[in-house]
């Protein structure tokens, strides 16, 4: 069963990811992204990380992609990039080759390393049924506020930078205003 879920969601993720880069229409590309993000959410559920799955759907699929769509709509949906012509000779074949190489290396490594994963694969401490419905959240919270508290705080700085950056790059300067 778990395997079946995994294959399904993995397919969703891959199809979505490929869709993002090959769809000509930006709206379609954005919608493909939703597919990918949903796939990830399903994977979270399969790992019994229900809280994360919910956040994934709400924040990414819900908020962020909607924002993308807004921007695309505002900028005009008619613009279609022409991806047929590739001006750099050799770029595409080489890129395909390099990507295939990378994939091949990774797949080989993971197949060979299967054994290692099994040895160490004790998995997470899954909450028991009697821990209550919010066990998952509590576990996450504990992890965030103990082991990963520094990471959590640094993330806040990261978000501040993102905001500052947006302001900095989009604000009209006197030069452009003139």
């Amino acid at each position: 069963m778990e395997f079946f879920v995994f294959v399904c969601s993995a397919l969703m993720i891959l199809v979505g990811a490929v869709g993002v880069i090959v769809r000509k229409h930006p709206v379609h590309a954005a919608l493909s992204l939703v597919l990918t993000l949903f796939g990830v959410a399903v994977l979270f559920v399969a790992q019994e990380a229900h809280f994360l799955a919910a956040v994934q759907v709400i924040v990414y699929a819900g908020a962020i992609v909607v924002l993308f769509l807004f921007v695309i709509m505002l900028l005009g949906v008619d613009r279609v990039e022409n991806l047929r012509t590739e001006p750099l000779s050799g770029q595409r074949p080489l890129a395909v080759l390099a990507s295939l190489g990378l994939v091949a290396v990774l797949i080989t490594a993971i197949l060979r390393g299967n054994q290692i994963f099994n040895e160490r694969g004790t998995g997470l401490n899954l909450p028991d049924a009697q821990d209550g419905p919010d066990a998952n959240t509590v576990q996450l919270a504990e992890s965030i506020f103990s082991q990963y508290v520094v990471a959590f705080e640094v993330t806040s700085v990261l978000l501040v930078i993102a905001v500052v950056g947006t302001v900095l790059l989009t604000r009209r300067t006197r030069a452009t205003a003139e």
Binding site: A98, A109, R112
Partner: protein, 637 residues
């Protein structure tokens, strides 16, 4: 007194700093006097240090003055320390002494130059670096001085940088010396990894005690020899020195004849125990390179027409003799010749400078002649220098050259023949020069109008401030040989003095055929010198023989040209290829292809013109290679 050792290099440095601060205000000639007095006081300090050392027993004549701990990095400890021992004090004595004279001379020579005070800043900085080089207690301090003299030499060669040739010559010197420096650096690291210290004391001690394996000693000695070849203009790295004559003449005298170029000889003498314990073929290599250079440069000097280039090739040749001496285990003789050579070669260069000065910057000997009448003092002192270098007894050069040849004979008769042929050629080309410049027809009369002179052009004698050093140096060139006379053990002053430093490695020739017949060799040397002089007289003064000056010699056997072609050919081609790659592959994708993109897609912006993709591709390929390699390792192991 010896704990004030640091004063010796510090004084010239102080002179330079003062001139940097106030040189412009002091102006010409006061900034020159300031620089001269700085070196003079430094010389006097050295003399005091010398007497203090002399007052000690022979085995105690060594003093290390540690100023501060310089590089305490990890397992390495290097102090900023100076070493006073017979070798370093001998070097300092003649470095400061000759420098003082040349500074004095330069006051007259550079008079009226727009960058007068700057010249003395460089000159003082040079003396400082040179003193660091010779007084350094470890390889690193020496290396510091080594780099310093290189930099000053570069600055001084291109001093008249408005001349393009001067700038090119400066660059040539820089490049060649970097090759040598590279050898010294590797030697330094090797010495460190095998001895655990860079101090001469420790390295030489390790060599003595047999803790330094022959193979590592060989590597260190060879690498230092590479450095020495660069600095001392030996084959195959000699070609920068003749070009270095683009600098002002006092510079040629100081740096490119008397002091800096001898630092290779000094360095090898400094580490003589290492040379001693390395494989025997190392010494032979040094000797062969020295002999080859000596002969090679002497042949070239025969057909040069530029007064300074003759002396430059002669310097290369004489340096070759010193290396020949070192290769034959004659360290004392090498130092002896270094000192006497400093006297007479500085004298010859300064004399030629005086001639050039008097001739309004004419350097072509074909346009000179009969100058001894208008420049009597210059002429007289130059002739003394000539006799000294030609090897006429009892002038200084005779004794030192003879001492070298004696040891060389003991080492190998073949090399001795090379040496004696070099001596013959030396006598020949120097006589040729003296005749062309000071005797014969006054050819400058024909060329008077070329100088844009006002009607009649007459060379003039130089001012007194320039003649004084000439006189002092000529006296030294006469009596310098007294340091080490062959007649009796008691007259081997220099040998006794240097004994603590070189005793162990000095070749023992007491029982050889050469030593037992040394007076025979002495006579042979005199005969050869006379033959050279007579031959030149026959050719140039009496015109009895045809002048033989093959073009190939004038072009220095085409060696320089060949090197230039290699550097300009494959060397430049490599750089060009890389430049081309950068310009066409990377930038071409940006620009050329970028334009195609714009014309095809029209609306694409510059940032989208494709090269981010290319960069990403590069990253991916690199990643695949690295990961693929790791995978192989992970799977195969």
């Amino acid at each position: 007194m010896l704990n004030l050792l640091w004063l010796i290099p510090l004084l010239p440095l102080a002179g330079a700093l003062l001139n940097i601060a106030a040189g412009r205000k002091l102006g010409d000639p006061r900034s020159g006097w300031l620089a001269t007095s700085a070196t003079l006081i430094s010389f006097l300090t050295t003399v005091l240090a010398y007497f203090e050392l002399l007052g000690r027993q022979a085995e105690k004549r060594s003093h290390v003055e540690t100023l501060f701990s310089w590089l305490p990095v990890g397992s390495l400890q290097v102090d900023f320390a100076l070493l006073a021992d017979p070798l370093s004090i001998t070097m300092s004595l003649f470095v400061t002494g000759v420098s003082t004279l040349i500074h004095l001379y330069a006051i007259g020579y550079m008079h009226g130059d727009a960058k007068f005070s700057k010249f003395f800043i460089y000159l003082n900085l040079f003396v400082f670096s040179m003193l660091m080089l010779v007084l350094g207690e470890n390889l690193l301090v020496t290396f510091l001085g080594w780099e310093g003299v290189g930099a000053c030499s570069y600055l001084l060669i291109s001093f008249w940088h408005t001349r393009n040739s001067a700038a090119v010559a400066g660059k040539k010197a820089f490049v060649t010396n970097r090759i040598g420096d590279f050898g010294v650096m590797i030697a330094m690291f090797l010495a460190f990894s095998h001895v655990g210290s860079l101090s001469y004391g420790a390295i030489n001690e390790a060599a003595h005690a047999g803790e330094l394996a022959a193979v590592s000693a060989t590597a260190i000695a060879l690498l230092l020899f590479v450095g020495a070849c660069g600095k001392s203009a030996q084959l195959p790295l000699y070609f920068w020195l003749p070009d270095a004559m683009e600098g002002p003449t006092p510079v040629s005298a100081l740096i490119h004849a008397a002091t800096m170029v001898t630092s290779g000889v000094f360095l090898l003498t400094r580490i003589n125990p290492v040379l001693h314990v390395s494989y025997a073929w190392v010494s032979t290599t040094v000797a062969v390179v020295g002999a080859a250079t000596a002969l090679f440069a002497a042949t070239i000097a025969v057909s040069q027409n530029d007064i300074k280039r003759v002396l430059a090739y002669s310097t290369v040749s004489q340096l070759g003799l010193m290396f020949l001496a070192i290769g034959s285990g004659a360290y004392v003789a090498a130092i002896f010749h270094m000192v006497t050579h400093a006297f007479f070669k500085a004298l010859l260069f300064l004399g030629s400078g005086s001639v050039i000065h008097g001739m309004h910057h004419e350097q072509d000997m074909r346009k000179m002649g009969a100058l001894r009448k208008v420049m009597p003092i210059t002429g007289f002192t130059f002739i003394i220098g000539w006799l000294a270098i030609a090897g006429v007894p009892p002038f200084a050069g005779f004794w030192s050259k003879d001492e070298i040849l004696l040891y060389v004979f003991a080492k190998s008769p073949v090399l001795y023949v090379v040496g004696i042929v070099t001596a013959l050629l030396t006598a020949y080309y120097m006589t040729r020069q003296v005749i062309m410049v000071f005797y014969g027809k006054a050819r400058w009369r024909d060329h008077g109008d070329e100088h844009g002179a006002h009607g009649d052009f007459t060379p003039h004698e130089s001012p007194r401030v320039m003649l004084m050093p000439l006189v002092v140096l000529s006296v030294l060139s006469v009596v310098g040989g007294a340091m080490q006379l062959p007649f009796s053990k008691d007259l081997h002053f220099l040998e006794h003095w240097l004994a603590p430093v070189v005793e162990e490695s000095e070749a023992h020739i007491g029982k050889t055929w050469a030593y037992q017949n040394k007076y025979l060799l002495l006579l042979l040397a005199v005969a050869v010198a006379t033959a050279g002089i007579v031959l030149a007289l026959a050719v140039y003064a009496k015109a009895k023989l045809k002048v033989v000056e093959p073009k190939v010699l004038e072009q220095a056997w085409h060696y320089d040209g060949a090197v230039a072609r290699v550097v300009a050919g494959p060397g430049a081609a490599t750089f060009n290829l890389i430049a081309w790659f950068d310009a066409n592959i990377v930038d071409g994708i940006v620009n050329g292809v970028g334009q195609v993109v714009r014309s095809v897609a029209g609306s694409l912006r510059k940032a989208q013109s494709g090269f981010v993709r290319v960069y990403a591709l590069l990253i991916s390929i690199g990643a695949v290679v690295i990961l693929g390699w790791l995978l192989l390792r992970g799977v195969v192991l």
